[in-house]
Amino acid sequence: MLSRRIIPCLDVREGRVVKGVRFRDHVDMGDIVDLALRYRDEGADELVFYDISASPQGRSVDRGWVERVSRLIDIPFCVAGGIRDVDTARAVLHAGADKISINTPALERPALISELAEAFGVQCVVVGIDSIREVDGEWRVRSYTGDPDHTRELPIRTLDWIAEAVRLGAGEIVLNCMDNDGVRTGYDIAQLQAARAVCPVPLIASGGAGASVHFAAAFIEADVDGALAASVFHSGRIAIPALKRELADQAIDIRRQ
């Protein structure tokens, strides 16, 4: 049986883990390896590192910290941010990342998804999608969401983009529901259910986790393969061992250590 995955997401800037409103008021959370090991010990099934300094500055991920993490971490991890071409992806994968995640660059040039899938196999290629419900009730995608001043509204329907990304070679979709992001009122179950219906590859819920019940709802009601969260784990509001016990009590298949 395949377990449902619990995935902490860490924002990385200059090789340190930071938190705060993206691009503003960053608080240093500590060394990337220390935090990665802490989450590994607590039972995280996978980690996502989002290099927030790379993408907006138009430079690629610093492979130094990717190597440091890979050396010490014995669970899978994905690197996001600043990956715009096959060469950069190769450098990140060869530094030890298991997967790479692309978002805005895939929207700007969808062929990038196919190029990465051909070069490394679909299992390495994650497409991250930032989605928002617009006034007409449709979910549509946003690009450049890392920087609120530069976020762009695109006319692409989220569900269409999921299908297209999978067709082009995405091996996994991370759907970040922006309406729920940071509010801790739960994942956007309706949107995740709609996404699930059009997504034959693994689907990861993102945005809105505030309590254990939110994870359970995403797994049970939206049948997602994994659930990603950041602040609730960093703040200690949700402890992964307790979360996993609660999920297991509800007969959700969770990895035991």
Binding site: L2, R40, S70, H94, Q123, D225
Partner: protein, 199 residues
């Protein structure tokens, strides 16, 4: 102990090397026949497609070296799939060390392909390679899989049973990634390195 990792161009060669480093083994990345023949343990990792890895082995002129090796050989992921006769992925011939053909996971309702994440291992017979891991979970990422044959020692399940680990004499393989399977993965690697593996 001399452990070598065949650098077949896959993206996980670094991660595999680090996994041995965590076991205090300095495993060298190699591409030449002499280093492979002189090693005590040979690792064939693989991330990518079967065709890519096989083409690279041909380019390096290592196909026959691996076929005729008499030292313990561990294939990982695509590296394990290539131990078999052929793969549906790109219709490529493998090393042919184990009988059978690798085919695409069928998937189905509630069964996503790629099969990605932590999945349960079920021992199909006792073997040194898998001591202490029956019933545990390991990390898988794959769209193709080998059948459960007499060489299978651990089965996985994704709507269909498939070979999660194989063993025949000095030939072994894991479909999962021991380098990314926490304590379970480290245990399998230690089992492979142990003198008992050769007994």
């Amino acid at each position: 102990m001399r452990v070598v990792i065949v650098d077949a161009g896959g993206a996980n060669t670094g991660s595999v090397r680090y996994a041995f480093e965590r076991l205090d083994i300095d495993a060298a990345l190699v591409t030449d026949a002499a280093s492979i023949r002189a090693a005590d343990r040979v690792i064939l990792p693989g991330v990518g497609t079967a065709a890519q890895v096989m083409a690279r082995l041909q380019q390096l002129d290592l196909v026959n070296v691996l076929r005729t090796l008499d030292r313990p050989l561990l294939g990982i992921c695509v590296g394990m799939q290539l131990l078999f006769e052929s793969s549906e992925e790109g219709e490529v011939a493998g090393l042919g060390l184990l009988p059978g053909r690798v085919s695409r996971l069928r998937g189905g309702p509630g069964l996503r392909v790629p099969h990605m994440g932590w999945s349960t291992l079920r021992a199909t017979r006792a073997d040194t390679l898998i001591d202490g891991v029956d019933g545990a979970q390991a990390y898988f990422v794959h769209s193709f899989a080998a059948p459960v044959t007499d060489d299978c020692v651990l089965a996985g399940d994704h709507g269909q049973a498939f070979a999660a680990a194989v063993r025949r004499g000095h030939i072994a393989g894991t479909q999962f990634h021991p380098e990314r399977s926490a304590a379970v993965g480290a245990r399998v690697l230690r089992n492979f390195l142990s003198p008992a593996f050769e007994a």
